[in-house]
Amino acid sequence: MSALFANAQPLDGLIGGVLIGLAAAMMLLGAGRIAGVSGITARATGLAEDGMSMSSAWAFLIGLPIGSLVVAAFLDLPHADFASWPVLVVAGLAVGIGTRMGSGCTSGHGVCGVSRLSQRSLIATATFMGAGIATVAIYKLFGGQ
């Protein structure tokens, strides 16, 4: 964008976002369902009873890594930088409990719900973004990366 946001990739982001929107639209208009990854994950593993059929849930989840693999085969993706295993495990537990308790994540609330102007999703999205921003700020305050 500019020297101010040296690392930003606004065009890549916008194209990626449009693809995600098309994927969610395909799920909505094609299958009549919400493309919420946390809910679909719970459904696929039998941790939620209602929702799409288990075979549909598995098909969607298997599609996710296939899509990113195809992109990686054509584009030179930068090296992804992950946290250490203990941090990943603590974060995974928090995300697992939190998305079930809050009925959704970035895709279900942030994309599908916000675009529908669902009051629950607008509040959920503002809450997890606020909590995420505060967490990174506190993390850095105590010398974390």
Binding site: G30, G32, G67, V87, F128
Partner: protein
């Protein structure tokens, strides 16, 4: 419903979703944490990803209201809750904390299982454990609805 109708649309949707995450840089947790680093070296890329996705979906919702049923299904099965409760806020806050410390949410984590399996697997395993934990711990008003937006 035939097997093809149950498998092909969600598989295509998932693959397109995973492609979008990779193109948008969302399979890199450092970039996601860069967006959440509002008071530091802020990287606005995630806002463009969400903006692009929300614009397309806002148009899709307009089509949805004019359709009697989905293209490959019998009926729309969509969340209809409008009540606000403490669990929505507390759960979303807890999710945000996890998202902030690792830079991962469920979509990019599952999408990364092939690209960076050794990093994504422990997160996804813990994610499933957290979901199971939430299910086991009894609550007064148990809800097992998959998405309650």
């Amino acid at each position: 419903m035939s097997i093809a109708r149950r498998i092909v649309p969600p598989l295509a949707s998932g693959a397109l979703f995973g492609a979008g995450l990779a193109v948008g840089g969302m399979t890199d947790p450092a970039r996601v944490r860069g967006f959440l680093d509002l008071f530091g070296n802020w990287d606005p890329s995630l806002a463009f990803v969400m903006g692009g996705a929300v614009i397309v979906m806002a148009i899709a919702w307009r089509f949805q209201t004019r359709m009697a049923r989905p293209l490959f299904g019998d009926r729309f099965a969509l969340p209809d809750r409008s009540d606000l409760d403490g669990k929505l806020i507390a759960g979303s806050a807890l999710f945000g904390v996890g998202w902030g410390i690792a830079g991962l949410c469920p979509g990019p984590a599952v999408a990364s299982l092939a690209l960076a399996p050794l990093d994504a697997a422990p997160f996804v395993a813990a994610l499933l454990a957290g979901m199971a934990l939430h299910r086991i711990v009894p609550t007064r008003t148990r809800r097992t609805q998959s998405e309650g937006i």
